[in-house]
């Protein structure tokens, strides 16, 4: 009972909202968060894509170590890391079982483990980068590298609306609970209760759609009066808006360090193999 209660506390809609917002906006004081978004883009361009083309285990291991350190520096939300580990372990375990079942041994599993390793590097790199950029920073960064104003605005606006939407979803969900009838018996492994919750979790989305479209009217009118449509692709506005983005010393240091690390990793990896 006690444990179940605790688990439910962690899984509540409210908790999910808090974690999401903290992931999005909470970490603005870390080293990574103080970097220019373009620095992070460049870094991510390598660590997010290069692993697909690297097959050297030593290099991959070195990159993995680097992104783990990055993740620690970025202070990612424990919930996100937990979900990631769950996914990776699940996948690893499934591969192991499959390999075993079809009569494979360690040599069959090895390539599969390498794939998992690549996925981990990419996921950890993504988590570190996106925890370190709040949506404003991300959208400013995108605007700077030439993405249209509408897109970058939509990203920051979506995050602004997220808490209200989650709250409204939560209320509708609770409405179902306050008037509905939960199954009398939980069923084997709680399947009845789980089915009941999954059902109302899905039904709760429908009422949201209409209310969102009603909200949108005021928002669009407000955007019109606040001159957003005029501003989206106006070079002057863009320049003023992005004036605060500059490469500082720490950006150069970080990129140089990453570059040196990767180069030495490659030299070491090739020599080692």
């Amino acid at each position: 009972m006690e444990y179940r209660q605790k688990l439910f506390d962690k899984l509540s809609v409210e908790q999910v909202k808090i974690e999401l917002l903290n992931t999005a906006y909470g970490n603005d004081q870390t080293f990574l968060a103080k970097l220019d978004p373009r620095t992070l883009f460049i870094w991510y361009l390598f660590f997010g894509f290069a692993p697909w083309f690297i097959h050297n285990q030593a290099i991959l291991l070195g990159m993995f170590a680097f992104v783990v350190v990055m993740m620690l520096i970025a202070r990612s939300s424990p919930l996100i890391i937990f979900i990631l580990c769950l996914g990776l372990l699940g996948q690893g375990g499934y591969l192991l079982l499959a390999a075993w079942f079809f009569g494979g041994d360690l040599s069959t599993i090895m390539p599969l483990l390498i794939l998992t390793m690549k996925l981990s590097i990419i996921s950890l790199a993504s988590i570190s980068v996106f925890t370190s950029m709040d949506p404003e920073k991300l959208s400013d960064g995108l605007l700077k590298v030439g993405v249209p104003g509408q897109v970058s605005f939509s990203i920051s606006y979506a995050y602004r609306m997220l808490p209200s939407l989650i709250e409204e979803y939560h209320h509708v969900f609770l409405s179902f609970r306050l008037r509905g009838k939960a199954p009398e018996k939980h069923g084997i492994l709680y399947w009845r209760s789980i089915a009941y919750f999954v059902k109302i979790a899905m039904l709760s989305f429908y009422p949201l759609m209409l209310s969102t479209s009603k909200r949108a009217r005021t928002t669009v009118e407000a955007l019109e009066t606040k001159g957003s449509f005029f501003a989206f692709n106006n070079p002057k506005v863009k320049a003023i808006k992005l004036a605060h983005l500059t490469f500082r010393q720490r950006d150069y240091w970080f990129l140089t360090f990453s570059l040196l690390y990767v180069i030495s990793l490659f030299i070491f990896g090739i020599l080692y193999s």
Partner: protein, 579 residues
């Protein structure tokens, strides 16, 4: 100061796809520096009129438009909405959707940035300073209270330094304390910065205190524009359109002693005009009704309950502390206190949706800690502040049936028919609840609650966001609830509702029960009212100011009391006439 700033001439407007024109040959002139209230029933065209001024009509709503609108010398037909934004700021009724950025300063400086002002941050800061939001720059919008969000929406409108500010129902969702705060800001902008202020407002008592002129609209026409005092004294014309003048004005109107129609419109005026009674001072602390309550069956028992929730920053915030409370059969409780006093949390504890951090909540002998909300729903109904969040089906009838159907109640259709009848929803039963008017939605939410046949019904701000006529209607319907349920608990800022309906008042402040007693014990205790930030109905203030005993709760009570007194005095041969 007599320049004509806004000039609307012979305007007709019909929304695209609409059947009837929303504006019918409208003519209106507003001077620079005016403080104007626009009044009128639902659908009289108030919001449409305001959207003429900032150019959303005819540029954004491309309907059938004829006539001309000039603002600061600009013809709105020839100017762009964006250009007009430098002259007109607009704050919506659903201002929440008007805030588009995540942080306070970002939102306030959004418009100046869009128009390419290099000093956009300074402009934003200045707007925040004007609206009293300094120091919140880096806060997130979702951390703000309702009142602060409203001020931020105003800051966003002020940021371009327009000459004209329009606010659509500025105080509909606020408690009296925060409502006054908003109007004080508007007054300051009007008097010290020379802004023209236009508000759409139902609360005539605020109009009397703050506005200089009143525009009456009806069915797309501007009927007249008059100075506030003259306007509010036209009691008959206003009442005909379901607009209720300040209570002191209504009282004077009903007493035939005011021959020349010089009715008072504010409390201070009224205090000088009505006869002072030298009745004995009412005991400051009236009796509580504890003794009377003893012996009745209890429905809810709370023992040393405390409650805290997690905030965005992952810290715990305590909202309720050491609450001891028993709700008995026959209680009609009003739960009052400022925004954030813990009213909603207290109600949610009773529903079992949230569990207390300490102490226990017993409902009908069941501990909420051990029961799911679905189980508690057999005894408790909670009606949300925003009715839309209760609508989970696509028609009123289905929503009302939901609970009964889920529990397979035999012949539930008959029960549903009866309830739809009781709440005057029979003709609306096939409509989608979310597309109905505010008052209809509220009725539907009450019907949903009653259909659950609970022992206790909890209502969160049932009269908020409604015009006064609808509010009276809902108050009457809430009055009929006592025939359906054993106890009713209403969280509200509406002191009129408290005065007319409650038989027990619980005052919350900062998570504590400050007072629990009869309405007399609350309304006769000045210190308590001030401490909890409560504003009693105007008529009650008046009768207390005149030392009347007992204090009157409604206009009719007051009129009857004064008439009776006149009668007595006349019998003594003393002639009284108020001029």
């Amino acid at each position: 100061m007599t320049t004509e700033q806004i000039k609307i001439e012979h305007v007709n407007f019909k929304y695209p796809g609409g059947e009837h024109p929303v504006l019918n040959d409208v003519n209106l002139t507003i001077q620079k520096g005016a403080f104007v209230a626009i009044i009128g029933g639902n659908g009289s065209g108030k919001s449409t009129l305001c959207k003429l001024i900032n150019g959303l009509i005819p540029h954004y709503y491309v309907g059938d438009f004829t006539g001309s609108v000039t603002v600061n010398g600009l013809d709105t037909k020839e100017s762009k909405v964006a250009d007009l934004s430098h002259h007109v700021g607009y704050v919506y009724q659903d201002f929440d959707n008007q805030l588009v950025r995540a942080r306070v300063l970002e939102d306030a400086s959004f418009a100046p940035l869009n128009f390419g002002h290099a000093d956009y941050k300074e402009r934003g800061k200045r707007a925040l300073e004007l609206t009293g939001l300094t120091g919140h720059d880096e806060e997130f919008i979702w951390q703000l209270s309702g009142g602060q969000k409203h001020l931020l929406a105003l800051a966003g409108a002020v940021s371009l330094d327009p000459d004209i500010l329009i606010m659509d129902e500025p105080i509909a969702q606020l408690d009296p304390f925060h409502a006054k705060e908003i109007y004080d800001v508007l007054k300051m902008l009007n008097e010290q910065h020379g802004k023209t202020i236009i508000v759409i407002e139902h609360h005539t008592e605020f109009i009397a205190d703050y506005c200089k002129e009143v525009v009456l609209m009806d069915q797309g026409n501007v009927i007249w524009k008059k100075p506030t005092a003259d306007a509010l004294r036209l009691v008959e014309q206003l009442m005909e359109r379901q607009i209720f003048p300040p209570q002191v004005t209504q009282a004077a109107f009903k007493l035939d002693t005011f021959s020349n129609k010089s009715y008072p419109i504010t409390l201070s005026e009224a205090l000088g005009l009505f006869p002072n009674q030298v009745g004995e001072e009412v005991a400051a602390h009236g009796p509580t009704n504890n003794s009377e309550r003893a012996g009745r069956q209890s429905i809810v028992e709370m023992e040393q309950v405390s409650f805290a929730y997690k905030t965005i920053t992952r810290s715990k915030k305590t909202v309720l502390n050491g609450i001891d409370l028993t709700i008995n059969q026959g209680d009609r409780i009003a739960l009052v206190g400022n925004n954030g006093a813990g009213k909603s949390s207290l109600m949610r504890l009773i529903t079992g949706l949230v569990k207390p951090a300490e102490g226990k909540v017993m409902v009908k002998g069941k501990n909420t800690r051990e029961c799911s909300p679905e189980k508690m729903a057999d005894f408790v109904t909670y009606i949300y502040q925003n009715p839309e969040e209760m609508f989970i089906e696509d028609s009123v009838r289905k929503d009302v049936s939901f609970f009964l159907k889920a529990r397979k109640v035999p012949e539930y259709e008959k029960i549903v028919d009866r309830i739809l009848e009781q709440f005057e929803l029979t003709s609306l039963q096939e409509r989608d609840s979310r597309l109905m008017s505010g008052g209809q939605q509220r009725r539907a939410s009450l019907a949903i609650g009653v259909a659950m046949n609970p022992s206790i019904i909890l209502l969160d701000e049932p009269t908020a966001n409604l015009d006064i006529a609808t509010r009276k209607h809902i108050t009457r319907l809430i009055g009929t609830l006592k025939d359906n349920v054993e106890a009713v608990l209403v969280a509200t800022h509406d002191m009129q509702l408290v005065a007319e309906w409650a038989n027990r008042v619980i005052v919350l402040k900062d998570g504590h029960v400050l007072h629990d007693g009869t309405r007399e014990s609350v309304f006769n205790n000045r210190e308590l009212l001030d401490l909890a930030g409560l504003n009693p109905p105007q008529i009650m203030e008046l009768s207390r100011g005149l030392n009347m005993s007992p204090v009157c709760y409604t206009v009719d009570d007051f009129v009857a009391a004064v008439n009776k007194q006149f009668g007595e005095e006349n019998n003594d041969g003393i002639q009284t006439k108020i001029i």
